[in-house]
């Protein structure tokens, strides 16, 4: 019943993009964790998490994301959110996530603003 979360890592270090597809819920924990771990092994300093194809997010899914954000902070990796739907952008804002990871309308905007290579 639940759309499974899928994730794909692309790009070259130090900036990698993780494309998410499907639903971000607690069931997507392993998928998201694996993708971010892959990005870390590929020496990503900054990860752009692209939500373009994410159609459903619940608070348990955001909790998964928060746990992984905590781990990324420990290893000094940076995270940014890209192409979040306006409603989920509002929800993330309410939860205070943008204090710790900025949000951008597009990958291009993220790269230009953060002066990434």
């Amino acid at each position: 019943m639940e759309d499974e979360l899928r994730a794909a890592v692309r790009g070259t270090a130090p900036t990698l993009v993780v494309d998410l597809h499907g639903a971000l819920t607690t069931l997507g924990s392993e998928v998201l964790e694996t993708a971010l771990e892959d990005a870390r092994r590929l020496a990503a300093h900054t990860v752009l998490l692209n939500f373009h194809d994410v159609d459903y997010i619940n608070s348990a899914g955001v909790a998964v994301l928060i746990r992984l954000m905590g781990r990324m902070r420990e290893t000094d990796q940076k995270l940014a959110f890209v192409e979040l739907q306006p409603h989920y952008r509002k929800v993330f804002h309410m939860m205070g996530l943008f204090q710790f990871a900025p949000v951008f309308d597009s990958e291009r905007e993220a790269i230009e603003t953060l002066q990434l290579s």
């Binding site: 619940n58 998964v64 746990r67 905590g70 309410m94 939860m95 996530l97």
Partner: protein, 159 residues
């Protein structure tokens, strides 16, 4: 406080009335909250809420249903979550009921945000955002006792 014989009170604003009631009974299985979410979308549109408010109601209903499934019914598939949509002339009321009074184990509804920094540091469980989001997204939220379980009642006003 107005005079009962004044013109204003002689032609009072019409009291909100119920247009329709729609009820769902869902098993306590993750994923079925999305059925409630779809019904929330349809009923909120029929209640005349604008698109952004429809999305607010969807998320609030989804979170309330998940809370009832997990904290009230322990994800026991045989225990049901009842979701009642009351379409009113002034907006949409939603009642989410579990079978074991889950919401009495949750602090009274408030819109105070959990401390994200503690959750990032791992010193607090990263979960526990549901009630905060419900209170933030809806115009009214209350917990009421019911015969069988607890009911989270929420309302989104039509502007």
């Amino acid at each position: 406080m107005s005079d009962a014989t004044s013109p204003a009170s002689a032609q009072p604003h019409s009291a909100p009335s119920v247009v329709a009631r729609t009820e769902l009974l869902l098993p306590s299985i993750v994923g079925w909250e999305r059925v409630a979410m779809q019904a929330a979308s349809a009923t909120a549109r029929l209640a005349g809420l604008p698109v952004d408010r429809v999305e607010d109601v969807q998320t609030a209903v989804c979170e309330a249903t998940l809370n009832a499934m997990e904290h009230g019914n322990g994800f026991d598939a045989h225990r049901l979550v009842r979701v009642l949509f009351v379409t009113r002339t002034d907006g949409l009321e939603v009642q989410v009921e579990d079978e074991r009074h889950a919401f009495f184990h949750i602090p009274p509804p408030s819109a105070q945000a959990p401390k994200l920094v503690d959750r990032l540091a791992g010193s607090q469980d990263a979960r526990g955002w549901g009630l905060f989001l419900i209170c933030s997204l809806m115009d009214e939220v209350e917990v009421v006792n019911a015969g069988r379980g607890a009911v989270l009642r929420m309302f989104a006003r039509r502007l």
